[in-house]
Chain length 398, copies 2
C-alpha cells in the first residue's frame, strides 16, 4: 500500500516524465493548446484576397464538404459555435417549449443551456463508469418505471411533459454506447441528437460519432482537437434536415437577388468564411493530431504503471477515442485527494482540471427533473483531466 500523502507528488512526477521530456521546459503545460503548422496562414491570406470573409464563401463550402468526407455524414452545416449547433439541432429534432430533453448531468453546461434556449427543460440522467457517457441499461429501467407512452410520445409521469429527445455526449472524446442508447430511444419514441462536440475523430465500430443520431453536433472551439477560432457544425443524413439547418441558420431568408423576405424565426448562426479557412487547414492535420494523441496515451499509460490509485481512461473495445482530453479516474477511496492533487499539479505548472460541476447542481438547474445520479456523482468527484496537446508526446517537438 502506497503512502497516500504522497499521491499528488508521485502523480506530478509521472506526468512530468511525459510532458517535460527534455528537462528544460519551465513554462506551464496547458491542458490543450492548438497548433497551426499547416496551411493556416496560406488559407487565411487566400480568404482575405477573395474579400469573402463573412457567412458565404468557398472555404465554408469546402469545410462542410471536408467534414462530410471525414465523418461519413451525408451533410454538414458549419455554424458559429458548438452551442448554436446544439440549439439548432434540437429545434430540428422537433424540441418545443415545455418539452423535456434527457441530458447527462456530467457534461459541459452548453448541452443543457441549448435545451433551455428551446424553451424546454433538461432532464438529467446518469452516466456509466467505463465510457463516462449516458448509461443505456440504467436509462431503460428508469424510463420504464417513470414514463408512459401516449399517442406515440414518451410522457414523464411526474411532470406530464413530453420527453422529446435525448442528448448523449461523448465525454472528453471517449465514445459513449450510442448504439445501445439509440435502441432505448427507439423503444420509448425519443429522438436522439448526438453531442459530438468533443469527439471529432472518435468512432464506434468504425463509424464516426455524431452520425448515429437523427442529428449530431461538433465544436471547433479553441480548446478542441481542431479549431476554427470559434465554430461548430451540424451533421445529418436527411436532405430535408440539412436544408432546414441552412435556412434557419441564415435568418430564414428566402433566397432572392435583392428581396429580403424571411418565412420564420431564424438565427444568425452561419460560420464566417474566415473561420472556415482556418478549419480547412486544421482538418488537413487532424489525422496527425490524432496519431500524436494516441502516442501521448501510450506514454501516459507507461508513466502511470506504478500509480494504482488512478486509472487512465482508455477506449472501449470496437471504438476509437480521439483522446481529446486524457482522463484520470481516481479510485473511490482516493476521491477526497482530488483538489490536493489539482493544487499540486498547478503548482508544478501542469494544468489539470476536474470534471465540470454536475449540471443538476448549478443554481439555474436545481429544480430540473433528474434521475438518480449516483454514478455521475462518483465520477465527477474522481475525474482529473491531464495535459492533452497532441505534440506533448512528440519528443522531437518538445
Amino acid at each position: 500500500m502506497k503512502n497516500t500523502e504522497l499521491l499528488g507528488k508521485r502523480l506530478v512526477k509521472a506526468l512530468e516524465a511525459v510532458v517535460r521530456v527534455d528537462g528544460n521546459r519551465t513554462d506551464a503545460v496547458q491542458l490543450h493548446e492548438p497548433r497551426f503548422g499547416g496551411n493556416e496562414s496560406k488559407y487565411l491570406e487566400e480568404c482575405l484576397q477573395s474579400t469573402f470573409v463573412s457567412s458565404v464563401g468557398p472555404f465554408v463550402n469546402r469545410f462542410e464538404r471536408d467534414l462530410t468526407e471525414y465523418t461519413g455524414s451525408a451533410y454538414a452545416v458549419a455554424l458559429v459555435n458548438g452551442t448554436s449547433a446544439l440549439h439548432l439541432a434540437l429545434l430540428l429534432a422537433g424540441v418545443q417549449a415545455h418539452d423535456e430533453v434527457l441530458v447527462p448531468a456530467l457534461t459541459f453546461v452548453a448541452t443543457a443551456n441549448a435545451v433551455t434556449y428551446c424553451g424546454a427543460t433538461p432532464h438529467f440522467v446518469d452516466s456509466e463508469g467505463q465510457t463516462l457517457g449516458m448509461d443505456a441499461r440504467v436509462l431503460r429501467s428508469y424510463l420504464a418505471s417513470t414514463t408512459d407512452q401516449l399517442d406515440g410520445r414518451c410522457i414523464n409521469r411526474r411532470t406530464g411533459r413530453v420527453i422529446r429527445a435525448m442528448l448523449p455526449m461523448h465525454t472528453f472524446g471517449h465514445p459513449c454506447d450510442v448504439e445501445a442508447l439509440i435502441a432505448v430511444a427507439n423503444e420509448f419514441a425519443i429522438c436522439v441528437v448526438e453531442d459530438a462536440a468533443e469527439s471529432l475523430g472518435s468512432t464506434v465500430g468504425g463509424r464516426h460519432t455524431g452520425t448515429f443520431g437523427k442529428l449530431g453536433t461538433l465544436s471547433f472551439n479553441g480548446n478542441k482537437t481542431i479549431t476554427t477560432g470559434g465554430g461548430g457544425a451540424i451533421l445529418c443524413n436527411e436532405l430535408e434536415l440539412y436544408k432546414r439547418a441552412k435556412h434557419l441558420s441564415t435568418t430564414a431568408k428566402i433566397p432572392h437577388a435583392w428581396s429580403f423576405e424571411h418565412d420564420e424565426i431564424g438565427f444568425n448562426y452561419r460560420m464566417p468564411n474566415l473561420n472556415a479557412a482556418l478549419g480547412c487547414a486544421q482538418l488537413e492535420q487532424l489525422p496527425s493530431f490524432l496519431a500524436a494523441k494516441r502516442e501521448l496515451f501510450v506514454a501516459y499509460a507507461d508513466a502511470l504503471r506504478d500509480t494504482p490509485e488512478v486509472t487512465l481512461v482508455s477506449e472501449r473495445q470496437g471504438c476509437q477515442s480521439n483522446y481529446w482530453l486524457h482522463t484520470l479516474l481516481l479510485a473511490p477511496e482516493y476521491a477526497h485527494k482530488r483538489d490536493e492533487i489539482l493544487n499540486e499539479c498547478h503548482q508544478a505548472g501542469i494544468m489539470c482540471r476536474p470534471a465540470w460541476q454536475l449540471i443538476h447542481r448549478l443554481p439555474m438547474y436545481l429544480t430540473a427533473p433528474q434521475a438518480p445520479l449516483t454514478q455521475s456523482e462518483s465520477l465527477a468527484a474522481r475525474i482529473i483531466n491531464i495535459p492533452s496537446s497532441p505534440w506533448l508526446a512528440d519528443k522531437s517537438k518538445s
Copy 2:
C-alpha cells in the same frame, strides 16, 4: 416633365457615371464590399503565432479598447455577431418573457428576432421620412393614447403587457432622432437599447450613435462599413452592465483556475480573437473608409442632379452619417417603378436593392402588435439602396 418610361435607364446612366468611371469595368458592381488594404494579414498572422485564436486573446481586448476610444463609450464587449449583441443587450435592459419591445417595422429582421429570443414580442412602430428611423412625435401620441402607467411601468392597454424597451435603429447608417426618442422613452418609463448595427462612424451632435441608449449594439458583418468576418459588440456606460455582458456572453462561468461553475443561463457569444484581429486592422482604416463614402455621396449627388424623381438621402443637420448604404427615395408618384428600376440596374450589373420587407408583413410577425405604419409602408415602397463600397468614388482605385 421627364418621360417616366425611361427613368430606369436614366438612373442606370447616372449611377454608371459614378461607379464605372474608367469605362472599362465590366464586372458587376456590388452593393457593399469589404476591402483589406491595411494590417489585416499582419494581425491574422500574429494571431496564429500567438495560438490564441479563440474567445480570449489580446486582439479581443484591443478591439474592445479601440471601440471605446472610437465611439466614446465607456465599455465595449465584442461578440460573435450583431444579432447576439441585440439579444444580450435586451436581456441586460431587463426584457423578460411576455414583455413587448417597440421596434421599427422598417429594419432588418434580426432586430425583431432578438426580441423574440427573449420570449418577448416586438411591437411595430412607424418611421419618419427624413431619417428613415422611428418617429418620436408620432410615437409619443401613440403611446399617450394606447398605454397606461402602472407602478412605474408602461402597459399596453390592449394586450395588458409591459412595454419594457424600445429599439430605435439607425437605418443604413443615417442617424435617427435618438435624443427625441429617449425623451419619449423617459416620459413613458421605457428603456432604450440603440441598434447601431449599421451606423459605426455616425454621430448625433458629435456623439457616436449607440452611446445614447442604456445599451447600444454594433455589427461587423461582411457587408458592414468594417468587418470582422462575423461579429458585433455591445456598448454601454455602466460598469455593472459591462460586467454582466461579459459574464452572460461567456456561458456565465465563474472565473476560476480549473473549476467549471456557472451561476445562470449564459451564452457562447464572445468574439473569437481571430475575428478581433481582423477588426483591429479594419478599425484603423475606418476614417479613410468614411471619408471615401462621403466623397461617393458627393459624386452621387452630382450625378443625380437631373433626376428629380429620386432624392438621395442625406444626413440631417447636426448629424454625421457614415453613409453605410447610399439610399435613393423615389418620389411617391414613381413608387410603382421600383422593381422595374431594380431590374434595369441588375441587368446593367449595378447591384441595387429595395428596403427589407417590412417586418410586420413577415409571416411570423403578422399577429404582433403594431401602431399605424403609414410612413413605413410609403418608405419601404420607395427606397433603393445603391452601390456603396468606399472606393467607388476614388478614381485612382477604380
